[in-house]
């Protein structure tokens, strides 16, 4: 095989792309991955990971502020040093970025540095990036291949997504931020308006609120985190408001006036009344859109729909030999969905037996605000809408020993079963550490357990996880500690 010829080339080294590359290498395929900017993509450079580092600082801040209630006295004042908080976050990213480079090397995957363009079936041309890299940029790993023509039997597009911009409120990187700027403030703002209350918006709102910033969240829909179960959303909203967040729902930012060092957001409520809020910055967090441009998709006739590449359950596009996975292949735009989609795609390509198409109903979602929110499966409303006769179980953190001991007694777990079959249709959580708990229900759902198996499962005491079992018991009128 010629030097520049591969079995598989993956465009984009985000969590979807690099995991797919590793799986491809494991399956014995000669694999290359193209990256134009940051190994590891948005997730570990500008998304999931660095924000978790920031939120950890926020969490420690929150705990410290409540030290007294644990019998602890902090001498002096607790204050955030923005530079160090950001530096820690960048350090975490740098470490993982280097880790991806190591993984590529270990699995003998060629890294091609530059921007890829599909020129004809089975061929890409790698050239200079069409956009400047977001700074700070980690250096490219050693031994990468450069610009040139490369061929592969299978080309997987995993170019991810970028912040969506609303017309008239386009981010400028100075007063109007996206997550890129919100993640590396040079100084702590005094006030912020966050537009959008999805996972990204609400996490930044939560972080900055913990840092003592006045934050107003503006959400178009009726509830914050609108994809979540309504009951959980409302619960979370109450908890967030208690922490001092100003939340406006069924409201939209219609206009932003910029001054030298401040913005004024014009916010229209559902009755059409407009109020103005002035703040240091506005964070635009109105979702993300697929990176489908400059890829040569049009030349090859790859079908797209609403900004995403159209694929079947195995990542195949309408053009033979071209595949897409992850954010660029459509929602939900989550790292773990991209990884799984990538593995399905490459295993299908390699002819691994027993590969099943993606089951979108079993993709969990986590939001790391305080309190955390996590869910999998159908919301109560969706379950009813799909015609299920349901049983709902709930359990509150304030009745769980471990939660009380942790001083984290505000939260709830809600489960939804199909009444007839006992199928676990959905699980929804709000409260401390629920992002770590949800996986128990994801496994249960994936193995198709019914309420019976969950009731027969022993949960360790004392843990927060006991609430999961209690919520199941509650759905069947058998709750013990409530």
């Amino acid at each position: 095989m010629a030097d520049n010829a591969y079995d598989v080339i993956i465009i984009g080294s985000g969590p979807g792309g690099y995991v797919t590359a590793i799986r491809a290498a494991q399956l014995g395929l000669k694999t290359a991955i193209v990256e134009r900017e940051h190994l590891g993509g948005i997730c570990l450079n500008w998304g999931c990971i660095p924000t978790k580092a920031l939120l950890r600082s926020a969490e420690i801040m929150d705990h410290a502020n409540h030290a007294k209630s644990f019998g602890l006295t902090l001498d002096g004042t607790m204050k955030a040093d923005v530079k160090d908080v950001v530096a820690r976050s960048r350090g975490v990213s740098a470490r993982l970025n280097g880790g991806v480079g190591f993984l590529m090397k270990k699995n003998k995957i060629d890294v091609i540095w530059g921007e890829a363009k599909l020129t004809k079936p089975g061929e890409i041309v790698v050239g200079k990036p069409s956009k400047p890299a977001v700074e700070p940029q980690h250096p490219a790993p050693k031994g990468t291949k450069g610009e040139g023509i490369y061929t592969a039997k299978h080309i997987i597009v995993a170019t991810g997504a970028r912040p969506r911009a609303l017309p008239g409120i386009e981010p400028d990187g100075k007063l109007i931020w996206t997550y890129f700027e919100a993640m590396k403030p040079e100084k702590m703002p005094k006030s912020l308006v966050v537009m959008g209350s999805g996972a990204i918006g609400i996490e930044f709102a939560s972080f900055y609120r913990s840092m003592g910033v006045d934050v107003t969240v503006v959400e178009l829909m009726k509830n914050v985190m609108p994809v979540e179960d309504e009951e959980i959303s409302k619960f979370a909203r109450k908890a967030l408001e208690k922490r001092g967040l100003n939340i406006l729902t069924e409201a939209k930012v219609t206009k932003v006036d910029k001054a030298a060092n401040a913005i004024t957001a014009h916010i229209e409520d559902k009755s059409g009344k407009v109020t103005q809020i002035t703040a240091d910055h506005l964070i635009s967090a109105v979702g993300v859109q697929g990176n489908i441009e400059n890829l040569g998709l049009e030349t090859l006739g790859v079908k797209t729909d609403r900004g995403c590449i159209v694929i079947d359950g195995y990542g195949k596009t309408n053009v033979p030999g071209i595949y897409a996975i992850g954010d660029v292949a459509g929602p939900p735009m989550l790292a773990h969905k991209a990884e799984h989609e990538g593995v399905i795609c490459i295993e299908k390509i390699a002819g691994v037996p027993g590969v099943h198409p993606m089951d979108h109903r079993k993709i969990p979602g986590c939001t790391y605000c305080n309190p955390q929110v996590a869910s999998v499966g159908l919301t109560e409303a969706k379950a009813k809408e799909q015609g299920h006769d349901i049983r709902v179980g709930r359990y509150q953190f304030n009745a769980n020993g471990k939660a009380i001991a942790l001083g984290e007694d505000n939260g709830m777990i809600k489960v939804i079963f199909d009444k007839k079959t006992g199928e676990l249709l959905g699980a929804h959580m709000v409260g401390a550490e629920v992002t770590e708990l949800i996986q128990g229900f994801v496994v249960a759902m994936n193995l198709e357990t019914t309420e019976e198996d969950l009731m027969h499962t022993i949960f360790p005491h004392p843990t927060l996880s006991e609430m999961m079992k209690e919520s199941v018991l509650d759905a069947y009128g058998r709750v013990l500690n409530a």
Partner: protein, 452 residues
């Protein structure tokens, strides 16, 4: 899907109670809210209401029975359009029939004191893992088991698409869509080695073990416990002989033309590069084809009996009894009337080998519309076989042997084979059986007609 009505717990501590009185009788139609029975505990008498509408299919525990355990099956409710036959699949499923304590029953405590919550009952009912024919475990998700039970499917008949062949929800949905895997009585009684829940033996039993052993000197024998296959054979064939009115028709067939044709066909088989012929027909392969074609020609004999209707099959699926260590199994050549002899022969070789190593899949030995049992190779002249429901016929094949016969009023020698057809007289009458056998004899004696 019949609904099990079980002994309700009238209070959280109640473990058993007396079934004081039935307010309904078998065949009665009830609607939700109707009082169907009175239950007594040491504390009180309470009325039990139906929560579903339907027809009372069977009262399992008669009134006046004392000490009925909570959750024991007390009656079966049939839903609209169901017949009593549907109860079989329910009655044997876990809770056990009659007032006997249900070993695995969960002490459920329905919140409502007077209503049996059948829904909640079904939900807490332990779901025993299904077994394959040889007692192996059928891997399936809990949800798949629940769905199979709710829809009356037999998991042993399905194949799974999950990891390592695990049956998952998707497979159940596919089965329901295709209408396969029904654990209806007919299908459940498919082949001797098929898995079937063992309902409480209602039939008169033979002498007990103790009665038998008493007749022999201790130490003069060894006891070998029955395996699943032996139990199934015993149960199935006992049922067959007790419920199916058998009758038998015997004919002699001249085999010489068939033997000649067989030699000619085998000689003409193309060979692969190792010199292996593409097929090697046995006499039995040709018998399978002849039976299939005879059933095609006499379609009234290609049937299965049910109490309501005659099941008239569109294809001849011929089961072939294969003796295996510890019992027998009948792999099925499906649509044998459509298949060339070479295909039948190769399928039979493959399934015969896999039968001996117990590697047959349930769908390969369950069902069928008739069967062939051949003991010719063991020198048996003639015998009669037991019909294996849902078949209505079975053909017992004796040895081919040279016999003196009368041909054109003169004594001659010919290779002859005696065959005996056993039929289920409920659906295949005497003349019909004779007609089928005549058609069979026609193909055997004029074997060229099998090739066109």
């Amino acid at each position: 899907m019949p609904i099990n009505i079980t002994m309700p717990a009238l209070s959280p501590t109640m473990e058993e109670g007396n079934l004081a009185k039935w307010m309904v009788k078998e065949g009665d139609t009830v609607s939700a809210g109707d009082v169907i029975a009175e239950i007594e505990t040491d504390k009180a008498t309470m009325e039990v209401e139906a929560v579903d509408e339907g027809t009372v299919g069977k009262i399992v525990v008669p009134e006046g029975t004392a000490n009925v355990k909570v959750n024991a099956l007390i009656a079966i409710l049939l839903e609209d359009g169901e017949d009593a036959g549907a109860m079989d699949s329910t009655a044997g499923s876990g809770t056990g029939a009659g007032p006997a304590p249900a070993a695995d029953a969960v002490p459920a405590a329905p919140a409502n004191n007077t209503v049996i919550e059948v829904g909640a009952k079904a939900a807490t009912d332990p779901m025993p893992a299904p077994k394959t024919a040889d007692g192996g475990r059928v891997f399936s998700s809990p949800l798949a088991r629940r769905l199979a039970k709710l829809n009356g499917l037999d998991l042993a008949q399905l194949s799974g698409s999950g990891p390592h062949g695990r049956i998952v929800k998707k497979d159940i949905e596919a089965a329901l869509e295709k209408g396969i895997g029904k654990a209806a009585p007919a299908a459940a009684a498919a082949a001797p080695a098929a898995a079937a829940p063992a309902p409480a033996a209602a039939a008169p039993a033979g002498p007990s073990k103790d009665q038998v052993l008493k007749l022999f000197e201790e130490g003069s024998y060894e006891l070998e416990p029955h395996d699943g296959m032996r139990k199934t054979i015993a149960k199935r064939l006992t049922e067959s002989k007790q419920t199916i009115p058998h009758f038998y028709v015997t004919v002699d067939c001249e085999l010489d033309a068939l033997m000649a044709l067989r030699a000619q066909l085998n000689g003409s088989a193309s060979k692969d590069k190792d010199g292996k012929p593409a097929f090697k027909l046995s006499v039995n392969d040709m018998i399978i084809k002849a039976v299939a074609l005879a059933l095609r020609d006499v379609p009234d004999a290609n049937v299965s009996w049910t109490d309501e209707a005659m099941v008239k099959h569109k294809h001849a699926d011929v089961g072939v009894a294969v003796s295996i260590p510890g019992g027998l199994i009948t792999p099925i050549i499906r649509q044998a009337e459509m298949k060339p002899l070479s295909v039948i022969s190769n399928e039979m070789k493959d399934m015969g080998a896999r039968a001996k190593s117990k590697k047959l899949l349930p769908h390969e030995y369950q069902g069928g519309t008739t069967a062939v049992s051949n003991m010719g190779m063991m020198g048996v002249k003639n015998f009669s076989a037991v019909v294996n429901p849902p078949h209505a016929t079975i053909l017992a094949i004796g040895a081919g042997e040279k016999r003196p016969i009368v041909k054109d009023d003169a004594l001659a020698i010919a290779t002859m084979m005696s065959v005996t057809l056993s039929t289920d007289h409920r659906c295949v009458d005497g003349a019909l059986g004779a007609e089928l056998l005549a058609a069979f004899k026609g193909y055997i004696e004029n074997p060229m007609s099998m090739l066109v």
